[in-house]
Symmetry: C2
């Protein structure tokens, strides 16, 4: 594979993206966006083939993702997406309920109108995904709505931690959202946007917390 020939003048702004990175990002997105159900089995050779690489980068990606809780390794090394117990789901939800209000609060001071408008647009796409009953698109836009806000918090470590929590919840969220097909958009997104416009810290924290906890508690029924 004459890779250097095929990449004559690499656009300097973007990294060349190693094989491992492509596989990692691809798998990570599939998992976080709920494209895989809980308990879905994967193989290193299969992953490698679907990304056009050998086992080696596939294995590294799997190790990395399993370290983040996005994949489960059985005792014999078999790879599956995690099947979370109810206890674990509740714990992850409570972590979200702890981190997200904090991130929102930090972002509030730096949020300007352009940001809120952008979130509004994303929220529309989210509502559309609900109408289409498209779980993957719903999860994707929902996460993008939150991440757009949290990026303004300028707290990369905290956001990174939160993303690993989202990652762990990906397959479970898919299962829950496909099981009971919801027909109404998450109601608290409006409250979040209002609190942002008003610059009301307490209201924003509350809206974020209830959005997270209600969203998951509503599904555990």
């Amino acid at each position: 594979m004459p890779k250097s020939v095929l990449r004559p003048t690499v656009p300097a702004e973007s990294a060349p993206l190693s094989a491992h990175d492509r596989v990692y990002r691809g798998l990570r997105q599939q998992i976080m966006h709920g494209e895989l159900p809980p308990g879905h089995a994967l193989t290193l050779r299969g992953i490698g083939k679907s990304f056009g690489v050998s086992m080696t980068p596939a294995r590294e990606s799997v190790r990395r993702l399993s370290a983040e809780g996005a994949l489960t390794l059985s005792a014999s090394g078999r790879v599956t997406t995690p099947e979370l117990s109810n206890e674990r789901i509740e714990e992850l939800a409570s972590i979200r309920a702890l981190l997200e209000p904090e991130l929102g609060s930090r972002a509030l001071r730096r949020a300007h109108l352009a940001l809120i408008d952008r979130m509004d647009i994303i929220n529309d796409a989210n509502a559309r995904a609900v109408n289409q009953q498209n779980p993957v698109e719903y999860i994707r836009t929902n996460l993008e709505f939150h991440r757009t806000l949290y990026l303004r918090a300028q707290s990369p470590a905290m956001l990174g931690l939160l993303e690993t929590v989202w990652l762990q919840l990906g397959p479970t969220m898919r299962a829950l959202y496909t099981r009971l097909r919801r027909t109404t958009a998450p109601p608290h997104h409006r409250l979040i946007l209002e609190a942002l416009r008003a610059g009301d810290d307490a209201a924003l924290r509350l809206a974020l917390r209830t959005d997270v906890t209600q969203g998951l508690r509503h599904l555990q029924a």
Copy 2:
């Protein structure tokens, strides 16, 4: 499934521990306990040799640890322990200040006297490490003091997240503790123990928060 019959002479109680796991655990402990200064360079071949394995398990361990923020990969793939900016240190400290009071509070309901006694003993060892001005032993016993409490919270995901934060801070804590050799044990451990004995949730949360923030703020001078 008569697997136990077919198994030759494996010690049943402990997993065989794959090469990758041994390397991962070994490196992780070195980093978390502050045995390596910030910016310390590592090589895959060197890691492999020091653990008696080939590059492959070494590489997987490094990938995993870098995913957790315990190691930094340069653009060319070079491996070093992270050199944290002051901003990053503050952010990680505020994450600790967010998670640790929550974990402590959850543990409080389940904490019995034997646990507090154990923490007392660990705290003595911690004070001894201060007198000996032994940074590694100080960090180790300090973390063990906290972890002993948080294990009772029965919140493995939250504790896991916290440990990755500790991991990221390992080399920096070593640098800080060796730079200014402190001569007095952390004063808030007493407050933590008192709050535990009194069953006072608010006091425990406060003591944990100040222990975390003061501990790091005291060193940034």
